[in-house]
Symmetry: C2
Subunit: 97 residues, 2 copies
């Protein structure tokens, strides 16, 4: 499902204008970005936890040339699905069998 | 940041009631769950992509007892941060150095 369909679906369910839904979504994402940048993890009940993790600096070797490169440290945003969504996905696999 | 603080922050920014924000969030998550269960990946512009992935059935060995166990197939929800959020996180690591 692409972004555009998602907005339309939200509009339908919430009975809100496109502008309101866009504003709402960008505010939500803005809060998550702000928290991630200060390394604060972020729990959304019934869904999961967004957790910024620091990847340390490391040496990597180019397999083609054998040249060694230093990869700088970086922060990656990880997502851990919550139990509710895990169970929902489990149900759907069980129904398939 | 816990769920409760997130809701309060959203209320403040959007000037919406608690009930509206709760409704909005649960509708958003509901859509993501519905799409994940039918193995449809889900792109949110400026944030990232939620992608359900099938983990095949596999044999696992209990290190303590050496007993072999069959782990059933399952669907896991993965998240791939988009470029916008990666760059934002990169900026924050660069500012630290």
């Amino acid at each position: 499902m692409e972004h555009k369909q998602f907005i339309e679906e939200l509009q339908k369910r919430l009975g809100m204008s496109r502008k309101d839904v866009d504003g709402l979504l960008s505010d939500t994402l803005q809060i998550i970005k702000e928290r991630s940048v200060v390394m604060d993890s972020f729990a959304i009940q019934g869904f999961g936890t967004f957790e910024p993790r620091k990847r340390a600096e490391r040496v990597s070797v180019n397999p083609a040339t054998g040249k060694r490169m230093l990869i700088p440290p970086k922060i990656v945003l990880t997502f851990k699905p919550g139990t509710l969504i895990k169970n929902k996905l489990k149900e759907s696999t069980d129904n398939e069998q």
